[in-house]
């Protein structure tokens, strides 16, 4: 399971303040904490700074990469911000994200095909958000065809089936799970990724819902996830479920987590 650490996002108040004050030590600490908790990528998002997003995103790239030797997930729908951030990024970043929305696709496609990178393909069509499994698979397939056509290997594509709140439509959980399953079966080698918290919008005890949803997503084939790796309970679910699905040789990761006091 590929883990993308979600915490460096300016929609979180402490991060927004740190970014505004250019508090590099604070950002470095949050990056380090996620890296030590098992993140493979560190997500950076400066989306709340309208007009200054590019500067702040670039600063985040430099600040985080000077602290941890990990690639980053460059999180923005803004092609210019992504393009500038990519120039400063060392190694292969994950671009989060492209979608089928026409302007977004047209402006981002030349950028992501110009240098090696991993890319999150969000199942968002031009005119509407998908609701059914079928719609998600259709948008996801089209994105996969376009991206591979541009020379991006299947293994570097992460289809995000788009998680929508279960509180509004009780079919939304199964719609995402079904889409993960279909995409993983139809395109062997491709990755699927999602964030978890949308599922629990509008309900109490959201963390309980998120972590059970994670277990189901993994069971349906999810291969990457955006989460807070410092959340011990969430990571316990992840490592336990992976073991139960036969993806943890000699139960090594689970036992290791236990012996290092990481289970909760």
């Amino acid at each position: 399971m590929i883990i993308v650490g979600e915490k460096i996002n300016t929609s979180r108040k402490s991060i927004e303040e740190a970014v505004e004050k250019r508090d590099a030590a604070f950002i470095a600490r949050v990056a380090r904490e996620q890296a030590e908790a098992g993140a493979h990528y560190i997500d950076v998002n400066a989306g709340t700074f309208v007009g200054q997003e590019i500067d702040y995103l670039c600063w985040l790239v430099e600040t985080v990469q000077s602290e941890v030797g990990l690639p980053l997930s460059l999180d923005s729908p803004n092609p210019r911000a992504l393009s500038e951030a990519m120039k400063r990024h060392k190694g292969e970043p994950m671009i989060n994200s492209i979608s089928l929305e026409e302007d977004r696709f047209q402006s981002l496609f030349p950028i992501i095909t110009s240098q090696p990178c991993h890319v999150v393909a969000l199942c968002m069509a031009q005119t509407s958000m998908p609701t059914t499994v079928e719609e998600r698979v259709q948008v996801g397939s089209e994105l996969i065809h376009k991206l591979t056509g541009g020379g991006i290997p299947l293994e570097k594509i992460y289809v995000d089936p788009l998680v929508q709140p279960i509180s509004v439509d009780t079919g939304m959980g199964i719609a995402t799970l079904g889409a993960i399953n279909r995409i993983m079966n139809d395109f062997p080698g491709v990755n699927t990724i999602c964030g978890l918290s949308n599922i629990s919008f509008g309900l109490p005890e959201r963390r309980i819902i998120n972590r059970n949803f994670l277990a189901l997503c993994i069971a349906y084939g999810l291969s990457a996830v955006i989460l807070d790796p410092a959340d011990k309970q969430l990571m316990t679910t992840l490592v336990t479920v992976e073991m139960l699905l036969g993806r943890d040789e000699y139960c090594g990761n689970f036992i290791d987590a236990y012996q290092n006091g990481r289970l909760a």
Binding site: S11, G47, T48, V50, S76, P77, N78, E101, D103, M124, T127, S128, M129, Q164, P165, S167, V168, T170, F201, G202, L203, P204
Partner: protein
């Protein structure tokens, strides 16, 4: 005056069967359809909105209450006389240009409708021009805009400009909301009000129009 407590409770609980029975028995007993609507249904939905804002009720419960109200309203419809249904105000609502997220906007529409506003929903990805054109055509009291993304909320000031250009900015109140939107942002762009959730949107709208 007739006591609508049982009907109120049924709407709050989202118990469609009991609510329909209660509404029917009120009609049978000669109650006025308008009173049933106002004191039986709208009053209950006001309570739902308040509890939701306080975190005492959750989205699925709110949907269930709204559904219950809709079913009861259908039952009442044949009994309304011309001019019976007086709206608290007309609201034109939509998700702004470039943004396809509709869940928040739909919840707000639903609660406003439940509170007795007349809603015209323009859907998602609504351009500033479309907002202005429809506002001219429909003469709403309130124009409501929703955005989920920090990148799309910048369409809000552009929409306000379009309303100004069309010469109708001073004839409508502008309300905004959505995850990245804040009270401060509303002030910066010259909106009249900001609501953080579907429950409080109703209260803010009433306050804007001076109705209750």
């Amino acid at each position: 005056m007739r006591d609508f407590k049982v009907l109120n409770d049924a709407v709050i609980k989202g118990d469609i069967k009991t609510a329909l029975l209660e509404a029917q028995s009120a009609l049978d007993a000669g109650a006025n359809a308008q009173d049933i609507l106002h004191d039986g249904l709208i009053a209950a939905m006001d309570e739902v909105g308040e509890r939701f804002s306080k975190g005492q009720m959750f989205v699925p419960q709110m949907l269930r209450s709204a559904k219950t109200m809709q079913e009861c309203t259908k039952l009442l419809e044949p009994f309304f006389q011309e001019g019976d249904v007086i709206y608290k105000g007309k609201v034109l609502i939509g998700t702004v240009k470039g943004d396809l997220h509709d869940i928040g906007k739909n919840l707000v529409s639903m609660m406003m409708e439940g509170a007795g506003f007349k809603i015209t929903d323009l859907g998602v990805d609504v351009s500033p021009e479309k907002f202005a054109e429809k506002a001219q055509e429909m003469q709403p009291d309130i124009v409501g805009m929703s955005a989920l993304l920090s990148t799309t909320m910048t369409a809000m000031p552009r929409t306000i400009e379009a309303l100004e250009k069309a010469g109708i900015r001073d004839k409508v109140k502008v309300m905004i909301g959505g995850a990245p939107v804040t009270e401060k942002y509303a002030q910066e762009i010259g909106a009249d009000s900001y609501a953080s959730d579907a429950g409080s949107a109703v209260g803010k709208a009433k306050k804007l129009l001076g109705v209750d």
